[in-house]
Symmetry: D2
Subunit: 310 residues, 4 copies
């Protein structure tokens, strides 16, 4: 799709300059103080391809809080660990509701609609907490190994902030427990969840670490099997229908790539057979997705004809 990598590098540069010159839209997440402190001006983009190129522009090497992007990695770990049993406890349907809605969880008797809304990610945190002796360390190791970079850490300031503003996630977790769909103790589940959300990574690390999803489950850097081709397919399907919260349909409609956003301002998009795009810009729209980050992905996808819907 892209013939020349230096042309692509120039394109990334151009997209960043265009976006930086636009007036800032959206608002930096402020539900926890640690996120509210981040400068709204920071902006980065990185592209990693399965044939080995990794490029970027703007602040693509500055780490940020990955937040809900961590749900993608947690999902892969849980699928690897318990296989299809996972789908007895979480559905794979789009939610049609705001991302942290408790209403649907009650309607559907404690079964989350999908693994990338908060309830689903808490359920997966329960799986990981229950099945790994040290689930937080295992998670961090998984991230470092995928990125091929040990320079990835948990931001303790963010973690503490999450913990002290975690009532809504606690409500979701206790509701699932009341339906018998949580095994571990809730404080342990929340602690795992807030830990994985508090990991800091930069655009380049994220793009690199997700290449296996564009490559049928195999990390092209190491040729290691990260997951089965079927599971890579499934993750991409879930990200396509549900990855961008209650704006997933619009993102499919206008961009057309499996993607996941986080309230730290990051967005990752998978281009099956080609590579991964990661963008970052903290100000969010009302759906919780990065305004400029979404536009950067959209601009690049359109320019290069990357959409899976043609």
């Amino acid at each position: 799709m892209i013939k020349n990598i230096s042309n692509l590098q120039a394109k990334l540069q151009e997209l960043i300059i265009t976006q930086k010159n636009l007036p800032t839209q959206g608002h930096v997440a402020d539900y926890i103080p640690a996120l509210a402190e981040v400068s709204p001006k920071l902006m980065g983009i990185s592209v990693a391809t399965i044939d080995g190129n990794v490029i970027g522009a703007g602040d693509y090497q500055i780490p940020f809080s990955i937040q809900s992007i961590s749900k993608v990695f947690g999902l892969v770990m849980a699928m690897n660990r318990i296989g299809d049993d996972l789908w007895q406890r979480v559905n794979m349907e789009p939610s049609g509701q705001p991302f942290n809605s408790i209403i649907q969880l009650e309607w559907e008797k404690g079964i989350p609609r999908n693994p990338v809304i908060n309830a689903g990610a808490l359920l997966i945190s329960d799986v990981l907490t229950s099945r790994f002796s040290a689930s937080k360390l295992a998670f961090l190791s998984f991230m470092r190994s995928l990125a091929g970079d040990d320079n990835i850490y948990i931001d303790n300031h963010v973690y503490q902030s999450e913990l002290s503003h975690g009532s809504r996630n606690a409500a979701l977790a206790y509701l699932m427990k009341s339906f018998g769909n949580i095994d571990a103790e809730i404080p342990d589940v929340l602690s795992h969840y807030f830990t994985q959300c508090s990991i800091s990574m930069n655009c380049q690390q994220l793009a690199t670490s997700l290449l296996f999803l564009a490559n049928k489950g195999i990390d092209p850097k190491t040729q290691k099997v990260i997951c089965t081709p079927r599971d890579a397919h499934r993750v991409n399907a879930i990200l396509s229908t549900s990855g961008m919260y209650d704006q997933s349909g619009e993102f499919a409609f206008s961009v057309g790539l499996p993607a996941k956003s986080g309230v730290g301002g990051g967005v990752i998009a998978i281009v099956p057979g080609y590579g991964v795009i990661c963008t970052w810009s903290p100000p969010l729209n009302k759906f919780g997705n990065s305004v400029a980050g979404t536009k950067l992905v959209s601009g690049l996808a359109e320019e290069l004809g990357l959409s899976i819907y043609h």
Copy 2:
């Protein structure tokens, strides 16, 4: 993806035989008598490719009631007629609700979640009724011209049956009207809607007529522009996130193609850049999707590696 058309023909035959030998699962739609009369044993599959092949197996030349598959054609007509104004009146998000749910329509103030749930299709019927002097004839002409076949008719028996069991759709339409989102008179809107649902077509005609969605909006048979590439993309995106009712996520997860089902037992699936699959088998699962029809699409997609999520 498929090298040899006679191999494909043999594959279709094999899939039909396998499915026919399985015990029948699901139930033929019985909310209207006219549909309940159809034999549950009928089963067909057809594939049309953008390079001109059209093949089929089983009862692929027996016409059936296209029902909600008509929503795809109505959507294209409405986009062509009023352009982006359409998206002020209907959203493009998955619904997370059963297909004819009135709850979400009330929550969202009369704006349907997307154009392929009933409320959205009624809204589109309003657009067509209001903008065409004879919308039913225009619709039928559009279908005949896309199929390249004038031998397509409205089943009046089905139409009368729909009309006399249309209370729920009437409720949806009146609710939208109460929010100011319907222009025409409700009986006219319903009459158009039930007419387009009552069209009979066979698998071959449906597969052939939708090739433009696999070919960036251009009908490969005639080279006519049916819609813009952008709109072909958009329809495929909507079908991917919402085309299979409240089983859309699972269909993406396990099959991975833009698709639309109807309660007459038909399923169409778009393979961008390649062609269209249409299957038919009347018994439906609890979501309103054909059990065997879904399996036929799934079997073929897996065999040939057609998924857009790789």
Copy 3:
């Protein structure tokens, strides 16, 4: 409770003067033009007692659109006509939802929560339409006979206005029909419902006509049995838990009488064993209840210690 009728007359006068001197709060119903034209300054109160006194103050002899107050009369007619069969088709629970909400009706499979929300009143209109050869005339006759006054009419201007703005009620009726809970044709049901809502009466007529509910079902003016003591009890119970829309709990909490309001600005309140209060003032609060009308009832009830909760 009240020793001296001329003291009571003076009290009514005083309440009206106090309320008239307050700045107007609330807004006259404007969902139909015919109601929006009424002067917000009009205000009346009337009290009828079971021992034969009828007094009033302010504009208590000016007729207004009774609107939802008609639901009380329709309920009595339907109970008389089909007895306990009625309660197979409508519940008697408070709704916990805005008065015309369609969400609850879907949840509860077409069974309205109670007979004094719109869905319930439409169901009762279906009962009346199906069981009386000329239900509108029967209704009007019932009203005239209860008031002992033939000078009661249907306001055709209001009726036409309701008809042309009736989409939401049509949606409710069609939804119930889709669940099999409506027998008659919807246009007939709506026509009956809008007719009974369009009756004009004044405070004195309304207070007089409802005395049977304060007197165990017997009209004290004529000694005629209007309904059984049990049904009088039941109507009062329903009005206590559900008569003031989604403000019923607050009205019980602060006033403590079975009551029903209409968007024409009328409020009736039953004082079992004593009599009936009717007030009128067109401006409504956000719940659809008359602001000043509610205060007039409240002031009188508190002054005279009328609450049933002591």
Copy 4:
């Protein structure tokens, strides 16, 4: 209303015998083991009058778990402590939802519909926990002083059972906290709530202790002011519209008294100006109300003409 107390005593005896001879309907609460162990055969009734009579029949002196009946007492304590500020944090409307529903709490932004559903009682537990240095002791003292009987205890077996099955209440509490409507720490709020639910009392103690609600806030045994007349009125109003969970409307319709039930099988009913009825029988109907207990109240109310709706 009742002329002769020995006639009343005979009536209670007769009601108990009639009910005991009927086949048992309903099921003993089994969501916690400690409640499931109670014999379904136990059944008692007691009546206390404001003029000083206290009688009973059946097992009216055997203590049982008061469960949600404790909400009445908590409400009175909270009104006394913080006055009308309470109504900024909890509404007074019927819920129209099952008693522990989390859906409505989300819709209404963490404001419980009323103080006698679980969410409302948890909010009141927060008020008590935050405003009393030892809220559990204060609660127990209040109960003993109202009953005039120090022989009232917390059942520690029930309390531990509640604690270990409290996920749903935890979810409700955390959800309110996420909306800023809980001040104290959730474990403290839950501990208070489960403590008050775990108090054991018998029918006679409960009937006696609630006489102030039938007597404008004054305990007739001691002439002490327990609450203002206005607050006694308000509690009775809330119990009338909301005290019997999602069967409150039906209870008003068929019985007509302010009442509160608990899943331990107790039911209390206030007869303003006369006295209090308390019944007990563990098997519950689908709404969580005692089947026989409700019938005992109903039978007595009808026999004696106690309904407030006449």
